[in-house]
């Protein structure tokens, strides 16, 4: 519907780090709309602000200036706990560095967001096991991150982000540590979940093959959106 606001709307979003001479403009006036159910890939050189943009969209970080509307709601007007609720109920995050709890089994890691959703234990375990099976980690449920390979850890992180059944999946290089076969499997999984659950996906990637799964590719340079491409065509 044309009248609907986009699910995510960034207007002039700027994020500064440091002060004076050391000031870094990690984001520099980003305008971006993402529609419900859309699959957007963000590409760009290292240090161009991709992760910073993901953190802002994921309500983990707040813009220094500019506007961020989620379903038409101004995020700047929400307090810490309201943002936590937003993350809990709407967002799933796959971090660039996985961010799994150490000395904690894969199963417990995947259960974590479900605990904060207040889900009963039995249901939690069932859901977490299901998510782990989806990413091909059946049989590794009780392994600690230290007992898993980098790619396996990455898949635990993917399972954790998906287990809570989010509306928006924010994936920062979700296939960075996976071989081509695994990467394709994960991308197929994301695409099918997107179709089943009307999942909105924002994915940072360096690989053209992975970006090719997206509806739209955004190219960032120096904290700005440099160009956009839709379905392989230059916009």
């Amino acid at each position: 519907m044309a009248g609907d606001p986009p699910l995510i709307r960034l207007r002039g979003v700027t994020r500064l780090y440091g002060q004076g001479a050391a000031e870094v403009r990690a984001l520099d006036g980003v305008d971006l709309d993402i529609a419900r159910g859309e699959f957007v890939a963000i590409m760009g050189p290292s240090g161009s602000g991709k992760s910073t943009a993901m953190n802002v969209i994921g309500c983990l970080d707040r813009p220094t200036s500019g506007q961020y509307l989620f379903e038409g709601v101004e995020i700047a007007g929400l307090d810490r706990d309201q943002r936590a609720l937003l993350r809990r109920n709407y967002l799933g995050f796959i971090f660039q560095g996985y961010n799994l709890l150490p000395r904690t089994s894969a199963l417990d890691n995947v259960e974590l967001p479900l605990i904060y959703k207040g889900m009963p234990r039995a249901e939690r375990i069932a859901r977490a096991l299901e998510a782990l099976e989806m990413v091909g980690l059946k049989g590794r449920e009780h392994h600690d991150p230290s007992q898993l390979s980098g790619g396996q850890q990455q898949r635990v992180a993917i399972a954790r982000a998906l287990a809570g059944d989010p509306r928006v999946l924010l994936a920062d290089e979700p296939t960075g540590n996976l071989d081509t076969r695994r990467s394709v499997e994960i991308m197929d999984l994301l695409v099918s979940l997107r179709r089943q659950r009307e999942l909105t996906i924002v994915m940072v990637t360096h690989e053209d093959d992975m970006a090719a799964y997206a509806d739209r590719i955004i190219w960032m340079v120096d904290g700005r959106i440099d160009s956009e491409r839709r379905n392989g065509k230059v916009a």
């Binding site: 936590a84 809990r88 109920n89």
Partner: protein
């Protein structure tokens, strides 16, 4: 959710079992020493009270001494003039405040019977002593008035002496040799056990005081007079009357000081109770300080743990934990930790107290109120010293926390 939080806290604690144990060691030691001190203190107070109750609170003890002691023979150490039986009789009949006045002398003697040799205490007294001391017989009989008056060779054995000399045999009617005299066993005292001070009260032979004076001591002296105050008379009033009459009997001039002491067992008892109370209070205070130190130890480790687990906190915040939930997690963790320390300390403290009570021959009387208090206190330690680290954790910014190395 709280139960869930406690379960997760327990898991976090067990994940670092050794460190958790070291963390709560302060609490364990603190609680254990408080519990042990208080329990032993209460046990010894109970023992003192029981001893006094056995003795009776209406008993006065009269002994030669005081400040106005006559110079001893050879000008050496002063020795007060001894008492004698005539003085005791005058005292007893001269005052309405006195119900009975039992003369008692103490000594030691070697007992020989059937080839067994045993050195024991002698308590020489008269027929009223058993009643005055509230000490029942388990076999045989008391001295008769006639035996007491005539100084008959009859004796009553304490349980320890009976065991040492006669073993499994019935001692009643048997003869035993006490130093140079031979005497007949007529009764057996009920076992009393050790006194508050640890001496064996059953290691004793009772005999008529006249017999002791004539056959063992070789003089007419009386060591102590146990006075039972008449019903309805305050021991303080009786003590004044006794002092007055004693000064008259012993012809002490108005300028001279008493050459005897009147000791009120009630006062002695309350003094003893007070001393043990103050002592155990002091020890408990020292132990309480160690509890405080234990609490600070918990705070320290929890703070370290917050820093160490900054990333974990960031992850929890990122997946939707609210500040309140992170606060609760760390607080519950601190409380569970210190409660575990508390329970461990209680068990250890009671164990120590039980062993100490056995060695000190006092009753082991664990006080549920004290145990409950220690439990509540360790929870409080967890709340107080867990709060700051927990708040520090809850205030972390999610993105900062995630970036923490």
């Amino acid at each position: 959710m709280l139960w869930e939080t406690a379960r997760l806290a327990l898991r976090a604690i067990l994940r670092n079992a050794l460190r958790s144990f070291l963390t709560v060691l302060g609490i364990v030691i603190g609680v254990a020493s408080v519990i042990a001190m208080v329990t032993v203190g209460q046990g010894s107070q109970a023992q003192v009270t029981a001893d006094v109750a056995k003795l009776g609170t209406n008993i006065l003890m009269l002994r030669p001494g005081g400040r106005g002691m006559a110079p001893g023979p050879g000008g050496g150490a002063s020795v007060a003039r001894p008492f004698d039986l005539r003085m005791v009789a005058r005292l007893e009949h001269g005052l309405d405040e006195i119900e009975t006045a039992a003369p008692v002398s103490n000594g030691t003697a070697t007992v020989v019977a059937g080839g067994e040799n045993y050195r024991t205490q002698i308590t020489a007294t008269d027929a009223r002593y058993l009643e005055a001391a509230n000490w029942p017989l388990v076999a045989g009989r008391n001295f008769t008035e006639a035996e007491a008056r005539s100084g008959a060779a009859a004796c009553i054995l304490g349980e320890t002496v009976r065991r040492e000399i006669f073993g499994g045999l019935d001692p009643i009617g048997q003869s035993l040799r006490l130093e140079a005299m031979s005497c007949k066993v007529i009764g057996l005292l009920a076992a009393k056990g050790a006194s508050s001070f640890g001496s064996d009260q059953d290691d004793v032979v009772l005999m008529p005081i006249r017999t002791f004076q004539r056959r063992i001591a070789g003089n007419d002296d009386v060591g102590t007079v146990y006075i039972r105050v008449a019903d309805g008379v305050a021991t303080e009033d009786a003590a004044v009357a006794i002092t007055y009459l004693m000064r008259e009997i012993r012809r002490i001039g108005p300028e001279e000081e008493d050459d005897f002491d009147v000791i009120d067992m009630k006062q002695l008892a309350s003094m003893l109770t007070q001393i043990t109370g103050v002592l155990s209070g002091l020890l408990a205070a020292v132990a309480a300080v160690s509890l405080l130190v234990g609490g600070i130890g918990i705070m320290n480790i929890m703070l370290v743990s917050v820093t160490e687990r900054t990333r974990e906190i960031g992850i929890r915040l990122a997946v939707g934990a609210q500040a309140r939930q992170v606060l609760m997690q760390f607080l519950v963790e601190a409380i569970v930790l210190s409660l575990m320390g508390g329970v461990l300390g209680i068990v250890l403290g009671l164990g120590l107290a039980a062993v100490a009570a056995r060695f000190m021959a006092i009753p082991f009387t664990p006080d549920p109120a004290v145990v409950l208090l220690a439990f509540a206190f360790s929870a409080l330690v967890g709340v107080i010293f867990g709060f700051f680290p927990a708040r520090a954790a809850a205030r972390l910014d999610p993105i900062e926390a995630l970036r923490h190395e």
